[in-house]
Symmetry: C2
Subunit: 136 residues, 2 copies
DNA sequence: ATAGTATTATACTATATAGAATTATATATG
DNA sequence: CATATATAATTCTATATAGTATAATACTAT
């Protein structure tokens, strides 16, 4: 699984570059993905959904803020926490992202039936739950 | 799968540390793993088996050489290539590694039957083959 | 009130990862 | 033989990732 992770990460970076998406890279794209689902989220929320450490997100979001992809919005009710929201600029890339995401899946799941994909998906979810139940 | 990769990478690092393995870290352990299988390999061989880029291995092997885990041995028949071999020091850790690897699988596959594990394994191999057939 | 604990995020630091360009060597071809 | 091409590894550079330590704020129990 580590190997697949590396190969798909590199392929994903390449696909983005080849299709002229130079506004963000692969890792940033994965963060944008969860923000497209829900525009306003705390850093802890994003950490949970991406399984990234919060320390990683601090610097990632710094860079993405510099690129004009996201903005930090202080929460007035809880001054410890900060909301992150995507900018209009980032929103414009969603369609292209979805298309490339499909291309990626095309490589990934070549020769798989829909049932097999669903099957694998359920295995992966179970593994994620195993980590969760270990408090990881 | 990216999420699982991150969680298991962090868990793997933690397991090694908790069990007092401070001679190498998780990423280095994965390289040692392929060298335990076959002691003498070129850097290109290792790159293929780990799906790491050769540039990554250059610096990884530098560090590991510094730690006394591996040695570079020039190939006398082909001066372009370099063999990498594990040291006796590294060999001593194999048993502990295997034990921790089992622990890791225990978390990963909790609640899985043997048949399900084999099933998932075959899906993952197919995905790896998909990348290979794309020349990735 | 306040002391202790939990939560949220960041700064700092170290390692991992990989692309582009480069160097050295080997192999193929005219 | 000379030149072009392929292969193996490295250097250089940039980003991603996460751990430890820290700071600020919120919550809880007395």
């Amino acid at each position: 699984m580590t190997q697949i992770g590396r190969l798909s990460s590199r392929t994903w970076e390449r696909l983005l570059k080849e299709c002229g998406v130079d506004a963000f890279n692969g890792a940033q794209g994965r963060i944008l993905y969860v923000l497209w689902e829900q525009e306003m989220q705390t850093i802890t929320d994003i950490a949970k959904q991406t399984s990234l450490a919060k320390t990683t997100l601090t610097s990632m979001l710094d860079r993405m803020e510099g690129l004009g992809l996201v903005e930090r919005v202080p929460d007035k009710n809880n001054r410890r926490q900060t909301f992150v929201t995507i900018t209009d600029k980032a929103k414009q890339y969603k369609e292209k992202y979805d298309k490339l995401s499909d291309d990626m899946n095309g490589i990934f799941y070549k020769g798989f039936t829909d049932a097999e994909i669903a099957d694998l998906d359920s295995y992966l979810r179970r593994i994620l739950e195993n980590f969760e139940s270990e408090g990881i």
